[in-house]
């Protein structure tokens, strides 16, 4: 299914993505508890396609995502989206799915309704379409928190799509899910990409990165070690850390 993008003033004033990078991170550093978790991250993302953020555990992937989304302010540096600093205004046109879905204590359908209402429009047809899109139409009236792990994550994804985001952040959404659920989620993500939604997808699963990525950001010890088109990254990784990671060696 192709998610119909809401026709609104935003779409009218931005008929085409501006040339050059839409999302830019400049010299981001972040220190928590005396540890430097992001250490001078510079990043330019085109804003279309699927960018996979890859790296070993503890590389700072999730933190980077939250900084890019404007949920965490970096100690130094800044994040710009279409030239505007990341914050409430940019976040409104983005969405994020967390590693552990945070669903409201109500039915699956009501979880979607809640977001649609927060965005100012009740739309049953759109809610039903979104539920069908992630394969939950049969579970619309079930309590969200009684769904299986995979179903909950799909609901979280549908809820994120309900905001009609131009950019979608996914923080290891398939970690610890069964293969069928992983496949389903990857299909939905691919559909979003085809629908011109930009995707920034954190994973430590190399196979998943190969299946989905247009480009790869490889993060190691809080630094961007490589940022390359997927094919080049997988064929000829430039750094030793990336080579080790791809080869399945333990990278710390």
């Amino acid at each position: 299914m192709h998610e119909p993008r809401p026709a609104g003033p935003a779409a009218a004033t931005n008929p085409a993505p501006p040339a050059g990078p839409r999302l830019r991170a400049e010299a981001i550093t972040l220190t928590q508890g005396g540890r430097r978790l992001l250490d001078g991250v510079d990043l330019d993302l085109a804003g279309g396609g699927i960018t996979m953020v890859l790296g070993p555990n503890g590389a700072g992937k999730s933190l980077l995502l939250k900084v890019l989304h404007g949920l965490i302010a970096p100690d130094t540096g800044r994040v710009l989206w279409d030239g505007r600093p990341a914050g409430q205004a940019t976040r409104r046109r983005q969405a994020m799915v967390f590693q552990r879905p945070v669903l409201l204590r109500r039915s699956a359908a009501a979880n979607i309704d809640f977001v649609l209402r927060a965005r100012g429009r009740r739309d049953r047809a759109r809610r039903d379409a979104l539920l069908a899109h992630v394969g939950l139409d049969a579970h619309a009236s079930r309590p969200a928190r009684r769904l299986s792990g995979g179903e909950q994550q799909r609901l979280a994804l549908a809820r994120a799509l309900a905001t009609g985001p131009e950019l979608l952040f996914l923080d290891e959404p398939t970690a610890s899910l069964d293969p069928a659920s992983v496949l389903r989620i990857e299909q939905v993500v691919a559909a979003a990409r085809a629908d011109d939604t930009g995707v920034v997808f954190v994973t430590h699963d190399v196979g998943q990165a190969r299946r989905l990525a247009d480009d790869i950001v490889f993060l190691h010890r809080g630094r961007v070690v490589e940022h390359a088109p997927a094919a080049r990254f997988f064929d000829a990784p430039a750094s030793a850390a990336a080579r080790d990671f791809l080869a399945g060696r333990i990278v710390v």
Partner: protein, 235 residues
Amino acid sequence: MQDFADAFARAVTLVISGDADLIEIVALSLRVSLTATLLACALGLPIGALLAIARFPGRGAVTVVINALMGLPPVVVGLVVYLHLSRAGPLGFLGLLYTPAAMIIAQTVLITPIVAALSRQVLEDLHAEYAEQFRSLCLSRRAAVGALLWDGRYSLLTVALAGFGRAVAEVGAVMVVGGNIDHLTRVMTTAIALETSRGELALALALGIVLMVIALGVNALVHGVHQSAARRAHA
């Protein structure tokens, strides 16, 4: 032990006979305490929600004060409300003293801190779980509070019951501002106090048993609603 057996027998007789005075007193008790609970929720839940999610200077101090106010002695509340509602007091022109409205006000003052303090705890825990997701969704504070109150509704129902329990059981405040006037402001607890002072201990105990049964009934009703609703909509 003779007193207890006698009390139970009289309690049963009272209930079975459908004594008109008893029904009137029970109805007033419920009306006063349930209204006070509603009002306390209308005031206390937003306060609790604000303390749970807002960050402002003095928030810790306000929280400590509200927690401490949970221990307000009812008779002190009664006295404070009496001084306001008395004809000689600032609100005397309203003519509310010795009316059910005065009792409702006193019980509202008594239990609003309970509702605010307990709901703050419930909502703060829930907010810790939801905060990041809500920020990602750019929810307004109003929408966030609404979502927290709705998602916390079953825990908050227990909070409301705690407030109701305290209201319906207290005697000090309603005695002072209500005056225990027969057929006007006499409720279960003041009737119990009156029968005790008449030395009618068994009758007082019987009324106490009836009060317990009523409190039990209200709690069972709420529990039943909770259970059936939880089966339908909640995890």
